[in-house]
């Protein structure tokens, strides 16, 4: 069964460093998403991406964040200068379409710890 994959599973970084989280969405899916879950809090939407551009983003997704689909399979989230409060589980998701059946399928997550 096709699944979303994410690398790395864990990332530890120093405050102020750049991190890149990687995702391989399900191959026939057209929409891609990043969410995060800070420990003890809700899963929060960060950004959605379609046709090589951002289709929607949350207030959390400020200028420190960027997304890219550098090739036909990878989807990345970059945090330019990490802060302590960026420590969270980051989940990538993908869906076939945003309309009709809107099911999003999630990857296993990357646990980011900023020290």
């Amino acid at each position: 069964e096709p699944e979303v994959t994410q690398t790395p599973s864990h990332q530890v970084t120093q405050m102020g460093q750049e991190v890149i989280l990687r995702c391989v969405p399900i191959s026939n899916h057209l929409y891609f998403y990043w969410y995060r879950q800070i420990l003890g809090q809700k899963v929060e939407f960060l950004v959605s991406f379609y046709n090589n551009e951002i289709s929607e983003k949350s207030e959390i997704f400020d200028d420190q964040f960027s997304v890219e689909r550098p090739d036909g399979s990878n989807f990345t989230l970059k945090i330019r200068s990490t802060k302590l409060e960026d420590s969270a589980m980051y989940f990538c998701a993908s869906s076939v379409s945003p309309s009709g059946v809107k099911t999003q399928y999630f990857g296993p997550g990357t646990r980011l710890l900023v020290l």
Binding site: V4, Q6, Y31, Y33, Y35, K42, V43, E44, F45, S48, S55, E56, S58, F91, A93, S95, P98, V101, K102, T103, Q104, Y105, F106, G107, P108, G109, R111
Partner: protein, 112 residues
């Protein structure tokens, strides 16, 4: 953001019995609702969904009920199995968007 709420943080049920999980929403623009199951250190796994044009959707042991007038949905798991022990999230999507808004989750423990 309290647009989607799961008021029961935890639920304990005996194996073989029914688990009922509840979810309330406030935004009438939501038109699609999903339930996800999550184990520790894993991503949310899709369980079942329902469009706002329906009031019930069933898939095996899982049934989701939607009461639009009450802005309430519920997930029934029958019969409950020990492997169902996990955190369950409801999520909602607006008609014109694709962003999932999640509830806070309900931790289910199924006792053998």
């Amino acid at each position: 953001d309290q647009q989607v709420k799961q008021n029961s943080p935890s639920l304990s049920v005996q194996e073989g019995r029914i688990s009922i999980l509840n979810c309330d929403y406030t935004n009438s623009m939501f038109d699609y609702f999903l339930w996800y199951k999550k184990y520790p250190a894993e991503g949310p796994t899709f369980l079942i969904s329902i469009s706002s044009i329906k009031d019930k959707n069933e898939d095996g042991r899982f049934t989701v009920f939607l009461n639009k007038s009450a802005k309430h949905l519920s997930l029934h798991i029958v019969p409950s199995q020990p492997g169902d022990s996990a955190v369950y999230f409801c999520a909602a999507v607006k008609a014109a968007g694709n962003k999932l808004t999640f509830g806070g989750g309900t931790r289910v423990l199924v006792k053998p």
